[in-house]
């Protein structure tokens, strides 16, 4: 449980952090460290150099305006869950409060979760449902990567080796009814199925449906088939079960020793339906 030897730099600015990443291709960004450090202690990860970005002031930004909510990459879950963002995007704070345990929430960061790209991360569903934009810096300047393009494979993002995530932007407004429902893995607490759901109901009609699922699938996914079945339909005429069934088909599922493909698909389906029922009943 001792990591292999590594160097450590606490960066004061984004430029300083990027310099290290450029100089050393085996360098890794360290934020809360709650995923990276356990892997290093097991020697499953052996970065040669850790660049601690948690003291870079720019990365702790938390801003709200009428058209965007900006969350710095090093904003900790606990800070976020107590922030005023709950007023405009309750989905985000609801999800954050269900992440792991208080110790992890006081260390773990939004950007760390995004960049680590665990396919069972709670925030993945939120990023996908809200069409979040990942703002990344590199020597070539700044670019924005849409959530739909961010998750490339389990634990792999669209981030290039010399790029660094600096903040996440959530376009506003989002649909008014929002929730995050989670069926947690009883051991790890990760989502076996986490559903981010949002919609509006205007004059009895369902509008702006957003559904995203994390944990159940090999990758987090948007359940667009469910969204299409529901959008623009009268609430009285829809069957959420049918929509959830369709939505579950948008994911790909794997089996492991304890949780079969069938079970995971079922969980995705059940949790989607329950999330929709909850929003409809609000």
């Amino acid at each position: 449980m001792i990591p292999a030897p590594f160097r450590y730099t606490r960066a004061a600015t984004v430029d300083e952090a990027m310099q290290v990443l450029q100089q050393d291709s085996d360098a890794k960004v360290l934020a809360g460290g709650h995923s990276l450090l356990p892997m290093m202690k097991l020697r499953l990860a052996r970065p040669s150099h850790l660049v601690d970005v948690t003291r870079i002031p720019e990365l702790s930004t938390l801003k709200m305006s009428s058209d965007v909510v900006v969350v710095g990459a090093a904003v900790r879950y606990a800070v976020l869950s107590q922030s005023r963002i709950a007023e405009v995007m309750p989905l985000l704070t609801e999800a954050v409060r269900l992440i792991a345990d208080p110790q992890v929430r006081h260390r773990g960061t939004v950007g760390g979760s995004a960049a680590h790209a665990d396919p069972a991360s709670d925030l993945a569903a939120v990023f996908l449902a809200t069409d979040a934009l990942f703002v990344v810096a590199s020597p070539r300047g700044i670019r924005r990567i849409p959530a739909a393009e961010w998750y490339v494979a389990p634990m792999v993002t669209a981030l290039a080796g010399d790029e660094m995530l600096v903040r996440v932007e959530f376009p506003q407004p989002q649909p008014a009814r929002q929730t995050y429902l989670k069926f947690a893995h009883p051991a790890s607490g990760y989502a076996l199925a986490g559903v981010a759901a949002m919609l509006d109901i205007q004059e009895g009609m369902i509008q702006h449906v957003r559904l995203a699922v994390t944990g159940a699938g090999a990758m987090p996914f948007r359940a667009r088939s469910a969204e299409q079945l529901l959008a623009g339909r009268p609430l009285a005429a829809v069957r959420f079960e049918e929509a959830a069934d369709a939505g579950a088909k948008d994911g790909e599922y794997l089996s492991d020793a304890q949780y079969s493909e069938e079970y995971r698909r079922n969980l995705a389906c059940v949790m989607m339906r329950r999330a929709l029922e909850k929003l409809a009943a609000e």
């Binding site: 001792i2 292999a4 020697r43 069926f183 009883p186 051991a187 079970y263």
Partner: protein, 788 residues
């Protein structure tokens, strides 16, 4: 007189130290010049070791020495087992401290690196090159005794470690019985996870030849016996210290190779050496628990009278015999499979089997949870088979109050009890009829709740030494205590039991305080150090208060007897005229002239004016050997709901009515019951080791192995009855394991009760959401198929 201290909810004295970070656990030991050891463990479940190359590793910075199995096999005897059940044909296979020709499970020790720092040692570990030739491996015990199974030990053909049978004739009864119920139960393998992992530190003084080993042990004196033999250091030169130990649950009974190796290195290198396992290492290299397949048969009448029960058990021993391993599926299991019921005939037929897995040893309850599970589960199946309410069936077969002492079919003499009273109390707390009405109403809405019972008894308070000998335990099971009164009247108590979280620094002080009439804070309880305590047998098998407390009560009485003689002399009255109460001696019936306990203590040490023939000083020892085991019992009731869409089981209510005799400290008793229940529910719903085809542990961390968590539980509802045991001076029965023993079948019975309308008869533990969901799906498909 103030509130009696025995029976009070005194706060735990040890907690001041333990919760403020002032405890001294083994890993806290720091000695100048100390080296650190780490173990290289086999990544293969079964392989031939072709070559171990340590040359690169030896050149790494900070590395002092590397030991391999080849280095040690000639100088160190193998690790012994200490429980040899008679007539079991036990195969005492060699368990080397480090594997030298073959590794037999993932985690088997291959080499030990000793270095200046833990960091240096772990870096060097990666530089050791081991060439393995992988062999076929087997993790399932029934496969291991099958044809063409990989063979683990030359001395154990077909991997059979032991075969043991016990009990009465049952054949005629089974042939003629009106009803025979057969069921096979899987006791999944559990991984004990005390908060503190295992650790050992050793310091050797070549000038005196004295070796001190700090080790996470539940029984330091047993460690001393075993390590003395292994190391060739006589007991008077070998000190084992296990004062603060952060939980064990049975996993710290065994003498492991690791602590022996640390001592070997300390002597060899003339430097203190410490080793502490990581949690990942703990999952692999610390003993596991349970892992049976039990084929059970019950014979009974159509109107619900059980006539006979018999079991054929296949117990997984792991790759080697752990210290107490062979006793667990035999003596601690096979003798009590009739449970709390008056069953005339019973027999047990037990196979212990070697597999390529971590060795199996005691785990909280050790054998008795397995026995209780099978009888409590098959009682429900029997009830279903004859259409009888499971409570009525139990009421009809429970041993009656007027039958005690009750001799079970295996010859055990159950001490005392009123099993029906505990059941009635539990039912009253539950509102049984109300819950059945609610269940029916919910079922009509497609919602499923269930209620499950466990009317258990267990045997603990291990135990009379004569019995220990008769059942092949290689030690006595009496316990020692010494009460030393200091000249100022304060007291130090020395106990041979070795509490490691159970709170006896407090309960033992309460016992002494109650007898000597001095405040709790004037009493210090010392345990877990073989140089301070002459001899003892440690803490396991819910024995500490029943046996260690019994010894303590006797020692305290001896102190009082001597103090009375001194007080009589001081009061100038005959011995028999002295009355002692509330810490004061006075003439019987009068309290105008008194001497206090402290005054007598001082006089005992000054010795200016002692009665003739009385020696100076005031201390007494007792070596107490109980006359029998103790038999705590009770009724546990679980109410669960099953979410049929996700398969998730939720515990809605949990009721426990336990009888452990008189409680010395009800708060500590309740804490033991809470913890026990949580661990038992862990087995029912959450925990279970899984191996893959190559016998690799799949559930090797808390990410995959589900420990029960506080949020999974409702407020546990407790009550008790009090039936003293006639088998020890305090009348106490032991409570450390009852919760674990009782709760597992109560919860599984409740889940099966909930699922009964769906036609689901049995599921194997743990009842995880995917398993329950899959069973519901299969049942639905079957019903659908029948309908179409």
């Amino acid at each position: 007189m103030t509130q009696p201290v025995v029976g009070s909810r005194a706060l735990r004295k040890e907690d001041v130290r333990l919760v403020s970070g002032r405890g001294q656990y083994t890993d806290d030991i720091q000695i100048p010049g100390m080296l650190f050891a780490v173990m290289l463990r086999s990544p293969h479940a079964h392989a031939r070791i072709v070559h171990v190359d340590t040359s690169d590793a030896l050149r790494m910075p900070g590395v002092v020495k590397i030991y391999t199995g080849q280095d040690l096999k000639a100088v160190l005897p193998p690790v012994p087992t200490a429980w040899i059940p008679p007539d079991s044909d036990l195969k005492m296979v060699e368990h080397p401290v480090l594997a030298y020709e073959r590794v037999r499970y993932v985690g088997d020790g291959v080499a030990m690196v000793v270095a200046d720092s833990r960091e240096a040692a772990e870096d060097a570990l990666e530089a050791i090159r081991v060439e393995y030739e992988p062999l076929p491996a087997v993790y399932d015990q029934r496969q291991a005794i099958g044809e063409d199974a990989p063979q683990l030990h030359e001395d154990a053909p077909n991997n059979v470690a032991l075969h043991w049978t016990v009990g009465t004739e049952t054949e005629d009864t089974f042939r003629t019985a009106e009803v025979v119920v057969r069921q096979s139960f899987r006791q999944q393998r559990l991984i004990p996870n005390p908060m503190e992992p295992r650790s050992a530190a050793a310091h050797y003084n070549p000038a005196t030849g004295e070796m001190t080993v700090w080790v996470t042990s539940q029984n330091p004196h047993i460690h001393r016996v075993l390590m003395s033999g292994l190391l060739g250091i006589p007991e008077h030169k070998l000190r084992i210290v296990s004062t603060d130990v952060g939980g064990g649950f049975g996993s710290k009974i065994a003498c492991y190779p690791d602590e022996v190796l640390v001592a070997v290195a300390a002597r060899d290198l003339d430097r203190p050496v410490k080793w502490t396992e990581s949690r990942s290492e703990h999952f692999l290299a610390t003993t596991h628990g349970r892992d049976h397949v039990d084929e059970v048969e019950l014979a009974g009448t159509k109107d619900g009278r059980v006539l006979a029960v018999r079991v054929k058990a296949y117990a997984n021993m792991g790759a080697y015999l752990s210290t107490a391993g062979p006793g667990v599926p035999t003596i601690l299991f096979g003798l009590i499979v009739n449970g709390a019921y008056d069953i005339p005939q019973a027999s047990s037929d037990v196979y212990g089997i070697f597999t390529n897995t971590t060795p199996v040893d005691a785990y909280r309850g050790a054998g008795r949870p397995e026995a209780t599970y099978l009888i409590e589960r098959i009682m429900d199946s029997y009830a279903a088979a004859i259409g009888m309410d499971p409570v009525e069936l139990r009421r009809k077969n429970l041993i009656r109050k007027d039958q005690f002492p009750y001799t079970n079919p295996f010859g055990l003499s159950y001490d005392s009890g009123d099993y029906h009273a505990a059941l009635d109390r539990g039912l009253a707390m539950l509102d049984y009829e109300g819950i059945r009405r609610e269940q029916a109403a919910l079922r009509s809405q497609g919602k499923y709740i269930g209620v499950g019972f466990s009317t258990y008894v267990e045997m603990c308070g291990l135990g009379p030494s004569q019995v220990a000998g008769a059942v092949g335990f290689q030690g006595g099971l009496w316990e020692s205590a010494m009460v030393r009164v200091h000249p100022g009247g304060k007291v130090t108590v020395f106990t041979g039991a070795s509490p490691h979280g159970q709170g006896e620094e407090t309960t033992f002080a309460q016992i002494v305080s109650g007898r000597l009439g001095i405040p709790l804070e004037d009493i210090e309880v010392v345990h877990g150090d073989t140089h301070r305590i002459a001899m003892g047998w440690g803490t396991y098998g819910s024995r500490t208060t029943a046996v260690g407390g019994g010894a303590l009560a006797l020692a305290a009485e001896r102190v009082i007897a001597k103090a009375k003689a001194i007080a009589a002399h001081m009061l100038e009255i005959p011995d028999e005229a002295v009355q002692f109460d509330d810490g004061r001696f006075h003439p019987e019936g009068r309290d105008d002239r008194t001497v206090t306990f402290a005054e007598v203590a001082l006089q005992a040490y000054l010795a200016w004016n002692l009665p003739s023939g009385v020696e100076p000083g005031l201390e007494a020892s007792a070596f107490y050997d109980p006359t029998n085991f103790t038999y705590p019992f009770g009724t546990h009731i679980a109410v669960v709901s099953v979410d049929t869409e996700t398969g998730e089981v939720r515990l809605l209510r949990y009721i426990a009515v336990d009888d452990c005799g008189p409680a010395i400290n009800p708060m500590i008793v309740e804490g033991q019951i809470h913890g026990g229940i949580v661990q038992g529910v862990g087995q029912a719903l959450y925990e279970g080791a899984l191996y893959d085809e190559d016998a690799q542990l799949v559930t090797g961390s808390f990410l995959d192995y589900t420990m029960p968590k506080a949020r999974f539980f409702p407020e546990i509802e407790l009550d008790h009855t009090v039936t003293p045991s006639p088998h020890n001076p305090l009348g106490v029965k032991g409570v450390g394991e009852t919760g674990t023993i009782a709760s597992t079948p109560a919860v599984v019975n409740a889940v099966m009760d909930a699922l009964a309308p769906l036609g689901i008869g049995d599921l194997s533990m743990p009842l995880t959401p995917p398993k329950v969901w899959a069973a519901i799906q299969a049942a639905k498909n079957l019903k659908g198929g029948q309908a179409s």
